[in-house]
Assembly symmetry: C2
Homo-oligomer: 274 residues x 2
Amino acid sequence: MTAPLHLANPLGDRSSVSQKTFAVMECIGSSGRPLTVSEIAVLLDMPTPTVHRIVHQLEMDGLLVQEAGSRGYVPGPRLFNFALNVFQTAVRHGSKHAILERLSAATGETCNFGIISGGALLYADRVEASWPFGLRYEVGSRVPLHCTSMGKMLLAHQPKRRREHLLSLSDLHAYTDTTMTEIPALEEQFAQIRTQGYSVDNQEFLAGVICAAVPVRDVRGKVCAAVAVSAPQARMPMSVAVQHVPRLLAAAEEISATWAMDEAEEGEDVHARI
Amino acid sequence: MTAPLHLANPLGDRSSVSQKTFAVMECIGSSGRPLTVSEIAVLLDMPTPTVHRIVHQLEMDGLLVQEAGSRGYVPGPRLFNFALNVFQTAVRHGSKHAILERLSAATGETCNFGIISGGALLYADRVEASWPFGLRYEVGSRVPLHCTSMGKMLLAHQPKRRREHLLSLSDLHAYTDTTMTEIPALEEQFAQIRTQGYSVDNQEFLAGVICAAVPVRDVRGKVCAAVAVSAPQARMPMSVAVQHVPRLLAAAEEISATWAMDEAEEGEDVHARI
DNA sequence: CTTCATATTATCAAAATCCGGAATGAAATT
DNA sequence: AATTTCATTCCGGATTTTGATAATATGAAG
């Protein structure tokens, strides 16, 4: 429970069966070729009997099939079908991504869209600037809430109760010497964030990296996500970051608008759609 | 172990955690809209706490995310990425499908590609004839081995040991009055199938349905899959079905040829590809 | 603002599953 | 035929899973 959430789990935990099972499917999916039981065992560093059990189960479920002739396994029909369905729901995702791309083009920097997920900030979408810049926090990564611009923005707009809960899950680790680790100081900043309408990260998580974030509101006006721009200080000092805020706000507004459209499509009974 | 495999499990067993977990993901994927914990519980007929636990775990793993604002969950970035990978491996699958389409056009009937999977015959691919014909065994379905043309073809070419094992798993259920349920009679037919190079199903599984199948061989010449044509007897009496055999053989040969191409691409160290 | 109905999340002891080393069996390679 | 590699089965101890119950949060209605 007091899990070390510091950074994103790079390949996922593997403590539960489900996690191991998904890891096996992911492994086969990303390799793009038939994999044998023992190859999977090596790639995932798991005991052979365990992999065998999982693969066998997945075969019984129609999720994997043995490539005709060879000994390797490939995604089965049911998995293709599942992948297709997941993909079709991506249209919603699409319009948001396009907005981020325009924002990135306008600012010339990397732009992110984040939400709170699992007690941390999840990079739900991102568009990289074309600049050569080593640091890569990919989509799906999780970063701490208390020392990132999007994290602080979202914390600032949580109900007090939930904010306290979220902060209690964190150890408020000091990643750099500007990281804020005291709750009173953070609360003071949250108030300021609510007033000024944007938040910044002045190298509080990664030395040399500056970010600025604005809130994204849902149909009812509640803050539910954030949009941010990030870049090395050398290229984007704080004064420049702040100048991007109006553009960020415009993009956030556009994203909110896409949700209003979604809303119109819905409204049926649960059973009607399946 | 003595599982009733008669027909395909329509929505999959749900005895293990992994199966339940996948069912939850599948449910969200196929609904195409955000689903809440309790909606999922209703749809899958599972206890709410169980669904809650699974969803929470999936959220932690980055596979699901809570749709900004709402309480419903949608596929997360990691799941999109996975779906993309699974899809990319479909190109390989693609060439086989094109061959089946040509075969279906040439014969004017529904054509299938099947393999043995999980002790039954799995429809790994199929192309439907445009004729109006109610019966639909979709891709991913499993049918018995002992009373289908593809099943008998594949059984006939298994090593004796494995064939005995596969038959022992089956209860040799009599689906129609032409179904063969005696091992000696089946063995006799297997010998005939090996000699004549094709197998037929004379309404042994479904009354009124005729099928003919030929073997597909892997690079080393071993039989590893089957191609079949099927249609209602009214349209395709046995005499007509047998006339399609040369076309079937040609298609099987084409499919084998695509594997020879695959083979050329492979041959690297396991670690090189991930 | 308070109350009520509904949905979500936490708890916990019993029960079932999972685990993986070791042994065995099958198949490819030399 | 011998050798090596890979796949599969076994099995009892350890860990996880389970789901009824209860506490809590949310949102609507009064």
